[in-house]
Amino acid sequence: MTATDLSVDGVTLTAGAHHLVRDVSLTARPGETIGLVGPNGSGKSSLLRTVYRVLRPDTGQVRVDGGDAWALPVRQLARTVAAVVQDSAADFDLAVREVVAMGRTPHKRLLAGDTPEDAGLIESALLAVDAAHLADRPFDRLSGGERQRVLIARALAQRPTLLVLDEPTNHLDIRHQLSVLGTLRRLPTTVLLALHDLNLAAHYCDRLYVLHDGEVTASGPPSEILTPGLLAEVYGVAADVATHPRTGAPHVTFLPEEPPA
């Protein structure tokens, strides 16, 4: 199987008295690319954390190919679900290749060495994010964008059937934003990603879920749900939505605030 069927059923997540995520349901069919959009603090990262098993939902279920993701051993889940998270630190001297090699860990037995197959997967993961030339560089000397690409390569080397990414285009320049999202789009894998940029989300995702205050406000194909009314409600800004003549995807232009009357 190359793609996972993900379904999030009525997940609620609280921190103290505060709701981070409230009764969210979401599905990603095998091979789909699903985008999560919404303003800061709308619960995108928290929701993703319940999927890659860092925050346990208070109620509701995360099901991966029908099974409860939280009932599996962490290691077994890691063979199916890979994630690119925002918390990334490495102050230790690891070369880029070694960082990507971490992605092979859930597939390795105790004391097993790296095989030529592993080396090949690492190499092709680096190629996919245009980072093959960085392989021998120390990870902690890379720029933010280079690091981000390497972390995506690590997730690819994990050979997941569901890839979860939290703001993967952060720190990337325009060229790499497009190439990374293009790569993700072409993967046979199911992809769930949080994105800041609505136009990128509209262009690269099959369907979007719009989160607002921890709840799903709208969901569906980008062309159906990205409307000025929704953007005004969720983001509190005026916007113009047109169909882009070249790409055919909806294109959002935010309008500057009117001067006070």
Partner: protein
């Protein structure tokens, strides 16, 4: 794509050497290990040869191989020399090697487990906890576990101290360098104070002096009987850590990322804390708290072989052994016939190293005190 080189020229050279492409990467750790093994042999020979009675290296080898049953050399040494080499110096040198290796791998693993380059059993108060445990046994005479009471109590003390430091240093899922070192220092100070109090109020006058000397860390006066427990603990420690080397690597990626890469971080950390406390306890019970070996060795080793634990752990073990054997040689020759506790010497080297490391991290901006 530019490949802009960063860092000072020296750093660039070091990095190029350590992370050079292709085959060089694979052979270098082997070369490093080979060089270190040779160095360890030389160091052990020196440890057996040097002292108040100088025994020439050739004779050292003659005595050692003779005792192992190989008669390639006609015995031309006195019985006294044989006793000095085999019964006085050999256990001491070997304990030095075992302790150095053990402290180095403990430091390596601890730095990964708390994700902090300044972690080390001595600085974190783990050694103080072990000392307190061991001294309690000596002072109160607990013998619940028979001959193993001392190391068991040291293990308990080490584990207690480690958990305490970890719990106080951790806020919001992160441990900042400053917080970690401060909790370590504070807890070490408290434990040492309790220990001093115990020693001062106990009425076993003669023992107190011996125990006080031991709390400074020293390898003197050990016999073959002292050796087997630390050696077993070392082998156990290295074995388990090597088996877990990939998982230690995952911790370098951060806790959340490590989880997504298949590591149950909380459980893994708990288990390794127990293991590291056990090894620390046994080593401290045998050699007293010896500081900074666990701090310096991993950092120096990483400069040569990079950060992958599969290479750092064995290399650090060898380097730590070499370092402590020489430190002990210095400890018993510098002020001969007086002996300086070896812990005093390692602190003399380690203190400045610690300060340098702290400043380097501040420059790199990796002290997550601001995070």
């Amino acid at each position: 794509m530019t490949r802009a080189a960063t860092g000072t020229p020296v750093e660039r050279t070091v990095r190029r050497r350590t992370t050079g492409p292709g085959a060089g990467r694979r052979t270098r750790p082997a070369v490093t290990s080979l060089v270190l093994t040779a160095l360890l042999l030389v160091s052990v020979t020196a440890g057996l040869a040097i002292g108040s009675v100088h025994v020439p290296p050739g004779q050292v080898w003659g005595i050692v191989t003779h005792s192992l049953g190989a008669d390639w050399r006609e015995p031309d040494w006195s019985r006294a020399r044989e006793t000095i080499v085999l019964d006085v110096r050999a256990p001491r040198v070997l304990l030095g090697a075992v302790t150095g290796a053990g402290l180095a791998v403990i430091g390596t693993a601890l730095q990964a487990l708390v994700r902090n380059p300044l972690a080390e059993p001595y600085l974190l108060g783990v050694s103080s906890g072990a000392s307190l445990g061991a001294v309690s046994v000596l002072v109160f005479g607990f013998t619940l576990f028979g001959a193993a009471s001392l190391p068991m109590a040291a293990f308990g003390g080490a584990l207690g101290a480690l958990l305490l430091v970890y719990a106080t240093a951790r806020t919001g899922g992160r441990i900042t360098s400053s917080r970690l070192v401060l909790s370590g220092v504070a807890i070490a100070a408290m434990l040492t104070a309790v220990l001093d109090l115990l020693l001062l109020t106990t009425d076993r006058g003669n023992e107190t002096r011996a125990v006080l000397a031991w709390t400074l860390g020293g390898l003197g006066g050990v016999g073959w009987g002292t050796l087997w427990l630390p050696s077993t603990a070392l082998l156990l420690g290295i074995g388990v850590l090597m088996a877990q080397a990939r998982n230690l690597n995952l911790l370098l990626a951060g806790e959340e990322a490590a989880t997504t890469l298949g590591l149950d971080v909380a459980r893994f950390r708990a288990r390794l804390f127990v293991l590291l406390s056990l090894v620390t306890g046994v080593l401290v019970a045998a050699a007293g708290p010896i500081g900074f070996v666990g701090l310096m060795t991993p950092h120096i080793v990483r400069l040569f072989v990079g950060g992958d634990h599969r290479r750092v752990l064995p290399t650090a073990a060898l380097a730590g052994a070499v370092f402590l054997v020489w430190a002990d040689i210095a400890a018993r020759t510098i002020a001969a016939p007086m002996e300086i506790p070896v812990g005093v010497l390692t602190a003399l080297c380690g203190g400045p190293f610690f300060l340098w490391l702290m400043r380097r991290d501040a420059r790199r901006g990796t002290d997550r005190g601001v995070a």
